[in-house]
């Protein structure tokens, strides 16, 4: 009996962790859905404030499965989200600012070298990285592992290691207070690199949450 319970628990936990929203399952905006309208309105209210200033900002649209770079309300760039998961969606209803860009290994120019030196390019950007925001939010950007079982295994390992570390921390410190929210986004590797390239320190970020259809 206990073995059955354990097996079921394992299956349930794996299913809940690996399940993610499929693109286009949820309509972009169902105007007959009050919850969706309220969420879209909340995001619009925040976006109007951001679009009124000369700046670029990011909108993570979990309802449309896309990461949008915007300025003045204009969509400048769109990266499709392949899948995502969040620790607690209810906490994601605020404006965040990126604390720092993902680390980039910049090349130093050597005046003595004389010859042309390689610049950095999109290919130098990381495909998996973490973005830290203020107020506290952690976004883990993962690149798609479709057709790459080794990368899939590595990513799963990293995810589980992160969870184990967090669990160990709770056991060690006894601190069960709620942790800051986290969001995991899986995108194509070129889109992950593009995002690492584009984000800037202090960049405002809004998250639009989905509603049940």
């Amino acid at each position: 009996m206990m073995f059955l319970c354990a097996t079921l628990s394992i299956l349930l936990s794996l299913a809940s962790v690996s399940w993610a929203v499929e693109p286009d399952v949820i309509p972009l905006l169902d105007s007959t859905n009050p919850a969706m309208l309220q969420e879209a309105t909340r995001v619009l209210e925040e976006e109007i404030k951001l679009a009124a200033r000369p700046q670029t900002y990011m909108l993570i649209d979990l309802a449309a499965n896309a990461i949008l770079i915007k300025g003045r309300g204009v969509e400048l760039h769109r990266s499709p989200i392949e899948s995502w998961s969040a620790s607690d969606l209810s906490q994601l209803a605020t404006l965040y600012r990126l604390r720092e860009r993902p680390p980039v290994n910049r090349r130093k120019i050597d005046p003595a070298a004389g010859a042309e030196q390689d610049p950095i390019s999109l290919a130098d950007m990381p495909t998996t990285f973490t973005l830290q925001f203020s107020p506290p939010l952690t976004i883990l950007v993962l690149s798609s592992t479709v057709g790459n079982p080794w990368q899939w295994t590595l990513q799963r390992g990293q995810l589980w290691w992160r969870r184990l570390a967090s669990w160990g921390n709770i056991l060690r410190t006894g601190d069960t207070s709620p942790s800051p929210p986290s969001l995991d986004l899986t995108v194509a590797s070129d889109h992950a690199q593009s995002l690492a390239w584009t984000v800037t320190e202090g960049m405002p970020v809004l998250i639009r949450r989905p509603t049940l259809p």
Binding site: C5, I26, P34, L89, S179
Partner: protein, 210 residues
């Protein structure tokens, strides 16, 4: 004995997994915010009207005149009017490299194209490059004392659009490097595209760079 050990082991694994899933900081997959069962038509109408008003408000903030869009990751410059692309040009943008400032242990130049929103502040014809300190240091040369020794005509093309802090959209002699991140922060174009941008942009035209 084996059964007891097996039960104990499976129980531990089960407890571990349940704890992992229930722990507050664990990514529980995409749970959507809930939708109420019954919909109040008055509330719905109010929400729809408010949403429409806000959507209109956002649209009014969008540029109505042509604007310049620079994609530094893919080295492209676009001139757009609303959704219409008026020009799609291959460009060169910042290399992202760094150069140490001599005599300043912590000082560095970072050759990035700035990201964000800017405006065209100046429109120049036949611009002359006033070489900054880094241009000499990068080549291993001594920084000249006379301003006249900094002038270099003919390298920026026929036009230049300034967008602040010494950054320009200008021409280049190195057209083979278009499409690559090779500049010190400026945006380079070939002669034809530069001419088109110069014609389409006025002082005040927005430049959005990402």
């Amino acid at each position: 004995m084996t059964r007891v050990l097996l039960s104990l082991w499976s129980g531990l694994i089960g407890l571990f997994c349940v704890t992992l899933v229930q722990s507050s900081d664990l990514p529980i997959s995409s749970v959507s915010i809930s939708r109420p069962a019954a919909v109040d038509p008055i509330l719905l109408h109010t929400l729809q009207a408010h949403y429409t008003m806000l959507a209109k408000q956002l649209t009014q903030l969008m540029p109505t005149q042509p604007y310049i869009l620079v994609d530094t990751a893919r080295n492209h410059l676009y001139v757009k009017r609303k959704d219409q692309v008026l020009l799609d040009a291959l460009a060169s943008t910042g290399s992202g490299t760094i150069l140490d400032k001599p005599g300043d242990s912590k000082g560095q130049w970072i050759f990035d194209t700035p990201r964000g929103e800017f405006t065209v502040q100046s429109r120049l014809t036949h611009p002359v490059w006033v070489k900054p300190d880094w241009a000499f240091i990068e080549e291993g040369l001594k920084v000249p004392k006379s301003p006249a020794d900094r002038l270099e005509p003919g390298v920026l093309g026929e036009y230049a659009l300034g967008f602040g802090k010494g950054y320009f959209i200008h021409g280049t002699l190195y057209t083979r490097l278009l499409g690559k991140n090779v500049t010190h922060g400026c945006v380079r174009l070939n002669d034809d595209d530069l001419k088109s941008v110069y014609r389409l942009a006025k002082v005040g035209t927005p430049i959005m760079i990402f």
